[in-house]
């Protein structure tokens, strides 16, 4: 009898596995919108989040692009930060110790100007205590070298994937760009090159013009569009990639609520990342898993896989 009661009242299981990476829930903080974690201290209980993907790290510190770096658009945000970051040495020395004390999975986003650079950073992270996985940025639209150059060429994307996989035993997530004609082509290539998972989408290349000054609104002219405006595109691409590869897919793009996250999980994403929404409401990534749990309870759904729509 007791056993039966247990079955009935058992609360939904929100934990997931991506390769050897175990997450307590499927809601991650997206790179570039959560700093190095400390910035959110006191505003978001990181222990309640499935994982944190810290700001993209390069071999050397990068100063980023000149301002203006931001433009607000209807339901969206255009940015060109230019991958400003402290560099791998400072990350390991100054940022990682604090992050080790957080009870959530730490994933480090990396970027490089060459295959060798990606490989070198991955090696440095391989032995770093506390790092649970690597997300590889081959999709930033705001830098000329590296970034998107790797993400739009399936062959180059596969080369980066192989190099990073060779450099580390950590699970490797490849973050894909939507700025291609067929995202499944790159997804298939990186999957066969050994990626443990793919995350998508990075921002969509866009621009705005300031009609008062009659100049492009961003100093970099083009920027990456994020926020609720891009959600339908992101969802469509996640749906496509889920059906094209056998590795886990992490959905990103305009997710601000559990309703948004559920759409991605129904499309077949194993997990989701919260990006721009954290900038607006820092506690979003804490609220979303709680609300997903409520939805599952209300609908008697026990496992996240059961959310996925039939083919």
């Amino acid at each position: 009898m007791i056993h039966q009661n247990d079955q009935i009242t058992k609360s939904p299981d929100l934990s997931i596995k991506i390769g050897s990476l175990v997450l307590k829930n499927p809601v991650l903080l997206a790179s570039g919108t959560c700093g190095y974690g400390t910035e959110l201290d006191g505003l978001l209980d990181l222990d309640q989040v499935g994982g944190i993907i810290v700001k993209g790290i390069s071999i050397r510190p990068r100063p980023g692009t000149p301002p203006p770096r931001l433009v607000e658009t209807p339901c969206g945000l255009l940015n060109s930060i230019g991958l400003e970051n402290v560099g791998i040495e400072s990350f390991l020395r100054d940022k990682l110790p604090w992050l080790r004390n957080v009870k959530t999975s730490l994933i480090v986003n990396i970027l490089g100007n060459s295959v060798e650079e990606y490989s070198e950073i991955a090696k440095k992270l391989d032995g770093a205590e506390g790092v649970k996985a690597i997300e590889v940025n081959i999709s930033c639209p705001n830098v000329k070298a590296g970034g998107i150059a790797f993400g739009t060429d399936p062959e180059a994307a596969a080369n980066v994937t192989r190099a990073v996989k060779k450099a580390t035993d950590l699970p490797v997530i490849i973050k894909l760009t939507p700025n291609v004609t067929d995202i499944t082509k790159v997804a298939r290539k990186v999957a066969s090159a050994g990626a443990d998972a793919v995350s998508l989408i990075n921002t969509l290349l866009g621009m705005a013009i300031d009609i008062k000054s009659r100049r492009p609104a961003l100093a970099n002219v083009f920027g990456g569009l994020s926020g609720p405006a891009i959600k339908p595109i992101a969802l469509r691409m996640v749906w496509q990639v889920v059906r094209a590869v056998d590795i886990p897919v992490i959905g990103i793009g305009g997710i601000s609520t559990s309703d948004d996250a559920l759409e991605f999980l129904m499309a077949g994403a194993k997990a989701v990342e919260i990006g721009t929404a954290t900038l607006i409401r820092p506690s979003t990534a804490e609220d979303v898993p709680a609300d997903i749990r409520d939805y599952m309870e209300a609908n008697s759904i026990q496992n996240l896989e059961d959310l996925r729509l039939p083919e």
Binding site: G32, P67, L70, C75, G227, P282
Partner: protein, 264 residues
Amino acid sequence: MPKFDIPAEIVEQTQLAHGIFLLTVEAPAIQNSANPGQFCMLEVKYNNSRDPLLRRPLSIYKTQANGHISFLYKKVGKGTRLLSKRRPGEIVRVLGPLGQGFRLIHDRPCILVGGGLGIAPLLLPAERIKQSGKLVILIGAGNASEIPTIEDFSGLTRYFHVATEDGSLGQRGMVTDLLAQTLQEITGMAQIYTCGPWPMMKAVYHIARKKNIPCQVSLEATMACGIGLCLGCAVPKSDSREFLHVCKEGPVFDADQVNWEYTQ
């Protein structure tokens, strides 16, 4: 430093002049830990609307012991227009107090230089400095209607001067004229605190530098998060190719950290 993201009840929303508003909210936690020169991010959208997407950064103008914080702001776009339509009793989400405020120095005469609504972050430091030392307040604007709250400042010191470009209030001319005049009368060390349009702050900085007077500036930038997550509010540094971030290292900087030649 503790930060809070709280739903705050509006207790006052007053239009003081054309397009200029004073908004007061009840946010005791923020009021209690706010320092002069800090700011808050205010949610301007209604309910679950996602447009406008971003919060708006506003300097803390005034605080009261009863937990009230006031913001002095100008209706400049969609966000502030929506904010200006909010009425007492309604709830607005406020994140704060944010950033590094003014570093107050008490051993020398302090000169506050405000341009237009750049006076907003200067009232709190003025009130603090008044308690401990010599305070000079210089305010400039295009015309009198742009600075409807100068009475909050005029009673704080007898060294209070106003300049307007059209002569509708105080001396006709620029606030930098007032600064030059003041500095002629001050012998020995002084400290300048300034906020206003970029060209004004740049001119204030040049005057200060010539006289070797330290100058703190409160900068403004387009922001998304206000807490150092997005790095969007970058301003070029004077001594390298790197950037200052207005929300986290600022909004108040030593003026010589800033590359004043940079124009957006």
